[in-house]
């Protein structure tokens, strides 16, 4: 096992000197190896899907239904959903409501500040295809600004719909991780040791 892990990083150069190779590539290959282990993959999936922490960003009127969903009747915290103040330590963006031009710039900046891996839930009819304000001079669609993972229709959607969308996102994360595991085992890693997808 150990011999398979260490790629040909030790080469004998001229006059017997050692060439240790690129440490960055070594670290990447080590991480890929750990993540393609079946047990570790399951633990990482469990960690991602049960701690989806959104950044504090309220976009428009669907925010009241998200606040009601964090209330005691439709408790979203039991699914691991806790709003956190620092975008650099959160991994979810919930776009609730219409995106105006000013707000789209802010959302894009917050998105770029978050580290990988990260996901987006888009809530409401206004981000699907315009909603009732579809031909306004100041609105933008969400898919022109960010890559969206789950859409929740409604105007505003019920808090149970938001809870269902969080569960759907967990299924999507599990599928993504299982696909990664299959491809790495099949040897879809290319020469440099990085997965080809």
């Amino acid at each position: 096992m150990g011999l398979v892990l260490l790629p040909k990083v030790i080469e004998v150069g001229d006059e017997g000197s050692f060439y240790l190779g690129n440490l960055d590539q070594v670290a990447k290959r080590a991480a890929e190896y750990i993540k393609s282990n079946r047990v570790a993959n399951k633990m990482i999936t469990w960690g991602y899907s049960y701690s989806l922490w959104p950044a504090y960003l309220v976009t428009a009127c669907c925010g009241t239904e998200m606040a009601a969903a964090s209330g005691p009747r439709f408790d979203l915290e039991r699914l691991g959903f806790l709003s956190y103040g620092n975008p650099r330590q959160s991994n979810l963006v919930v776009i609730d409501g219409t995106l105006s031009i000013k707000m789209a710039k802010v959302v894009r900046t917050v998105w770029e500040q978050m580290p990988e891996p990260k996901w987006v839930i888009a809530m409401g009819a206004c981000v699907l295809d315009g909603g009732i304000f579809w031909n306004s001079y100041n609105t933008v669609l969400a898919r022109d600004v960010l890559p969206v993972d789950v859409y929740v229709p409604g105007c505003p959607p019920r808090p149970e719909a938001l809870a269902t969308s969080v569960i759907m996102l967990k299924e999507k994360i599990k599928e993504q991780q299982a696909k990664y595991l299959r491809r790495s085992r099949k040897g879809a890693l290319n020469k440099e040791g990085v997965s080809s997808e």
Binding site: A55, A60, T64, A68, P72, S100, I132, F133, S136, Y137
Partner: protein, 406 residues
């Protein structure tokens, strides 16, 4: 600490002079922040004292006034409800009142009583939301959870009546759309009694809490002359000592037949604004009880519109108490003219101005919401306080950015 009302010059020369003086730091409390809502508060601080505040709004501006010129009259009802999302019935009522004044019709008495009942329930929900946001801005999640939970019985009441959680579109020109179900009066009594018992819990935990008293007493003071000069509206105005409520000054929709009081406080600081909202909830409970006792019988839609319904629609009305949209309602064209209406919402006075030129869409529709008129609190009241007082003042005036931006 006492705060005089002074007009701060907004010229660019004054701005650049502020920047050059030493020790003045510009802070941007932006939209991605736990204590700012959907707006950006730009504050200049010197040490710990706030020198100048400039609100940067417009993050939720969708252009309701321009869009309504492109759609028929009845389609403006959901567009007017969505901005003031916590208090939708009063917004709906104001627009429909202006439209009825243009058309020259009056709804029957039973419809007026149902309008009053739903409007007062909406006012209770709006005040509870204000208390929740005030709590979470001060850092207490207990009051946030309690107030959000106490809104749910009233949401269930209106969900049984209309089918939706918060955006009902219940009031249409000529009357209302659904009649009260048979057990509405008993369920309403259960919900009201529950809320009356809960106010004792709130008093023990939140209103008599020494932390709340220390942080909010004496903070954000506004005198009566200052309130009249700056043009603030709603509970903020009444907590400063001015006794002005549109339900008493220009009564609309059967409010003349109920007897209720308009509470006021003298001090005008954040603590009295909190107490003002609790007192208004008690008055709303009193009005709902009177209305349920004396509910008149009759139709819930204007007589002329009822006569023009098809036989199938009349059958649905007689069996289920539900008004379906006739061709008359979807092709309204009022005569040429203008109309103005004012409603007392949960946060203050909502103003509607409608100009018609005889077509199917409005020629000009103007709406001014109460949050937009509470904006001078940022520029004139906040300077002089400490930095930690900004969320306290913001939460106490109950400013809701989607409503201000429309």
């Amino acid at each position: 600490m006492t705060q005089e009302i002074k007009t701060i010059p907004f010229t660019y020369e004054a701005l650049s002079q502020l920047k050059m003086s030493e020790g003045v730091l510009e802070l941007q409390i932006g939209p991605a922040h736990a204590g700012s809502g959907h707006m950006r508060i730009v504050a200049w601080v010197e040490g710990d004292t706030v020198v100048k505040v400039d609100p940067d709004i417009g993050f939720v501006h969708r252009g309701v006034e321009k869009l309504s010129e492109d759609r028929i009259y009845i389609k403006a009802i959901p567009m007017v409800e969505r901005p003031s999302l916590v208090d939708t019935v009063n917004a709906n009522l104001g627009y429909v009142m202006a439209l009825e004044r243009l058309l020259g019709i009056e709804p029957p008495p039973r419809a007026q009583y149902i309008r009053v009942i739903t409007a007062e329930i909406s006012r209770i929900m709006s005040h509870l939301y204000g208390i929740a946001i005030y709590g979470i801005f001060m850092g207490s999640s207990t009051v946030f959870m309690w107030a959000m939970a106490d809104r749910e019985p009233f949401i269930d009441l209106l969900q049984e009546l209309t089918g939706a959680r918060i955006t009902y579109s219940h009031i249409i020109p000529g009357g209302v759309r659904w009649d009260l179900p048979k057990d509405f009066a008993e369920n309403a009594e259960i919900a009201l009694k529950y809320l009356e018992n809960r106010t004792k819990d709130y008093e023990k935990v939140w209103i008599n809490n020494p932390v709340v008293v220390a942080r909010s007493m004496g903070v954000g003071k506004l005198s009566a002359e200052g309130a009249i000069r700056l043009g603030v509206v709603g509970p903020n105005l009444r907590a400063s000592g001015v006794k002005y409520d549109i339900r008493k000054e220009e009564p609309y929709a059967a409010y003349e037949e109920f007897d209720f009081e308009v509470p006021t406080f003298k001090e005008g600081d954040s603590y009295s604004r909190l107490l003002q909202r609790v007192e208004e909830i008690k008055q709303s409970i009193h009005i709902i009880r009177q209305a349920l006792k004396r509910l008149p019988d009759g139709k819930i839609i204007y007589e002329d519109y009822y006569k023009r319904m098809s036989p199938l629609m009349k059958k649905i009305y007689d069996e289920k108490g539900r008004v379906k949209f006739t061709l008359m309602l979807t092709s309204l064209s009022p005569p040429k003219g203008e109309a103005v209406s004012r409603v007392e919402g949960g946060r203050g006075e909502m103003f509607y101005y409608l100009v018609s030129d005889g077509g199917k869409a409005p020629y000009r529709f103007r709406v001014v919401t109460p949050s937009f008129r509470n904006l001078p609190f940022f520029t004139h009241v906040m300077p002089g306080h400490k930095l930690a007082d900004i969320p306290v003042i913001y939460g106490s005036i109950d400013y809701f950015p989607p409503e201000a931006d429309r």
